[in-house]
Symmetry: C2
Subunit: 438 residues, 2 copies
């Protein structure tokens, strides 16, 4: 059944990539021409390529069927097929960056379990890069380039991803609150809807919301959290976002649900937040502001949080500083950077905030991505009405690649609760987060 | 009643400081001579002194009764009496460092509530130092000097504090497990004994101990945690400490309790830890290793933790990098440094450890110190059998000053749980920390 589906997808790819076009992600689909015969150099490069990525247990083959696999006791996890010479050359130049484009356009095919393939590939590549001094230097240099997203660049980057189409996201996100961030699975068998609601409660409880509190939200997505807070915890919310499509959607939902007097959606950058609030919350925005923007965020919080205020930042992160996967940063999330805890502390330490609680929800993101991936594949027929096969293959790679990264611990998910230093009305334990649901 | 007690203490002080001697903390008690008459310069300096420390609402008076208080609407919190000209001069040179010695030797007296006085003084001094560019530069410079404690210096520093006398510590620490670290009060009305047992369970649950696990403990104090783990969780422990007195005590207790086959106490530096373990734990040692020793600690953990191992570090910390109170660092805890979370990350990030959980227990340390302080004062008669009044006043200042620092949020208490990056057998929530006691 799955094999049939994959074969159908593969046929579709063949059809689609016969045109030259630039799709919504900016990937150029080149017309395929009949590739030239494999020569001695090609064969030599095939072996070099295996060494470059750390000799993972993959069969690699060229356009005329020539195969290579490095001698290993491990069985082959996958079969990687290069469809033309250019594909191999591009891959050799920068595997991390170009693999994504080559896969999206079908110039490179992976047979076997894509998730297992990516998990093994990321691990192998990490070891290989660590051993390769030149690659290491490049990585370090890339990493040290501090990233800051200007107001204009932020708008452009966010438009690229979040203004794709609300309909598209609704097809594979949860139906409960349209959350495009990590869900919380205290029971791993929960449905995606249950887990997203559990996440929203977990966030609200960590923030100790009480009726009448004023909340400001930085980066509100489709507004699910702010409506949930207003409805279930009796608070008022001002929610900021620079994605026009999302703000329009959020306002319309608030109107439908009779929450327009409780929740105000503001189409503006978080740096322009005005007013004073009992609570600051930001779920899934930090990843987009770049590692030079943290103290600016700290300044905003310092300006807008009342003396007894509470705050929460929820973000994808890393165990140590390092850049986002190059292809994801180029095609999926321009300007994105997942920080380490050390880097995140630049939000809090310069302003004498007290970090009260940090929770790492890494495997909850794996679970979330499994659900998203399944729903994405289940809805391909509808997605194809609006998007071409290159887009679909890119998105598949992004979802499965992210799942592999969380499984492998290349990415983490940190929820950080903080208060002003002198706020002494703290709960005596975190037990209130684990009492039966209200 | 309390007043009588204070008066008696004051009289005792007068008697004791009439001798010149160097006590266990290295504080020189100088014989008091009849101070010279207050002159115009003294009066001018009295006013300057108030400005230097940020004009707190204190009455300050000189040796002949001349008083000064900066005009303020606040009522006076305390009355600070300088007993001789030298006391005032030493104070002016470095209030933070010399206040402690002057108070200990009775050359400076505080009338009123010592805790309130210190809370207000620390706040006022912090604001004043922030406004004073010179002081700020000095502070910054002091702060930037990285501290590393060599094996020899560590032994000397730890001997200074922990080898004072087991009998002394037993007088005011809990009777349950002789814990000289922050207790855990999920119910603030718990006794000290209950709260220390709650802390030990909290640590063991965070580490997910299971029977048969091997544990290594870095800096084990009097061995309370390791015996508790062996007895209640069926694990074996190797516990390292460089305090000879503590190791002797710990071994004798393990023998009494029939735990010698489960717990091995090793008189050695944590840097010499050998072997591989399921669990690494360190409660209250990090404060003593200095802010240049964290990556060395990370190396030790990386060397000794099994692939599916768990670790916990419990330490006094700060909201932002800064030195320990100068007097405490000189007289009470030589070589001590409370790190910020950002600094603590140097243990974990270079070795790709995943931080799973950070909990800030600041107000639990306030509560712990309230208990210690009360027991210390209740046992003064016994303490006086072995220690002079200068030591007692120094220790009182240290306990009350620490309480003020935790109340004011100048100090925090961080518990950090971590694992190796690829350890995927993680609990799906932290609810297991909050289930009813076993």
């Amino acid at each position: 059944m799955q094999q049939q589906q994959e074969q159908r997808q593969s046929e579709n790819t063949q059809q689609r990539v016969q045109t030259t076009s630039k799709n919504k992600l900016g990937v150029v689909s080149k017309a395929l021409t009949k590739p030239k015969r494999v020569n001695v150099l090609d064969r030599w490069l095939l072996r070099r390529m295996s060494a470059l990525v750390g000799h993972p247990p993959f069969i690699a083959s060229l356009w005329d069927g020539v195969e290579y696999m490095h001698q290993t006791e491990l069985p082959a996890v996958a079969h990687v097929k290069f469809k033309d010479r250019g594909a191999m050359y591009w891959f050799l130049i920068d595997p991390e960056l170009h693999f994504g484009d080559l896969y999206s356009t079908g110039r490179l095919e992976v047979e076997g379990d894509l998730l297992k393939f990516l998990e093994v590939a990321y691990k192998s590549l990490a070891v290989s890069l660590a051993d390769n001094m030149f690659s290491k230097m490049v990585k370090t240099w890339v990493n040290r380039r501090p990233k800051a997203n200007s107001l204009h660049a932020s708008r452009h980057n966010i438009h690229h991803h979040y203004d794709l189409s609300n309909k598209f996201y609704e097809l594979w996100l949860d139906k409960a609150a349209t959350q495009y961030t990590c869900a919380y699975f205290p029971d791993p068998n929960m449905s995606l809807e249950e887990a997203q609601i559990a996440k929203l409660h977990h966030v609200c409880r960590k923030l100790q919301l009480k009726p009448g509190d004023s909340v400001v939200e930085a980066g509100c997505g489709w507004g699910g959290l702010s409506r949930f807070m207003a409805k279930n915890y009796g608070v008022t919310v001002k929610a900021y976002n620079i994605s026009h499509e999302q703000i329009v959607y959020a306002r319309s939902r608030a109107l439908q649900e009779g929450l327009s007097d409780k929740v105000e959606y503001i189409e503006d950058d978080y740096r322009n937040i005005q007013g004073e609030y009992d609570v600051f919350v930001s779920v899934g925005m930090l990843e987009h502001i770049g590692n030079r923007g943290y103290s600016a965020l700290g300044e905003v919080v310092d300006r807008c949080l009342k003396p007894d205020g509470r705050g929460l930042v929820h973000s994808i992160g890393r165990n140590f500083p390092g850049p986002m996967n190059a292809w994801i940063e180029k095609r999926i999330f321009p300007g994105a950077y997942p920080p380490s805890i050390k880097e995140m502390m630049d939000i809090f330490e310069p302003f004498n905030f007290s970090v009260q609680d940090v929770e790492n929800l890494r495997l909850h993101y794996s679970r979330t991505l499994e659900h998203w991936r399944q729903r994405f594949e289940d809805n391909l027929d509808i997605i194809r009405e609006d998007f071409d096969e290159t887009f679909i293959r890119a998105w598949r790679l992004y979802l499965v690649g992210s799942l592999a990264a969380f499984n492998n611990s290349d990415l983490q998910l940190f929820q950080i609760v903080f208060t002003r230093a002198t706020h002494n009305e703290l709960p005596w334990s975190r037990a209130h987060l684990y009492s039966p649901a209200d």
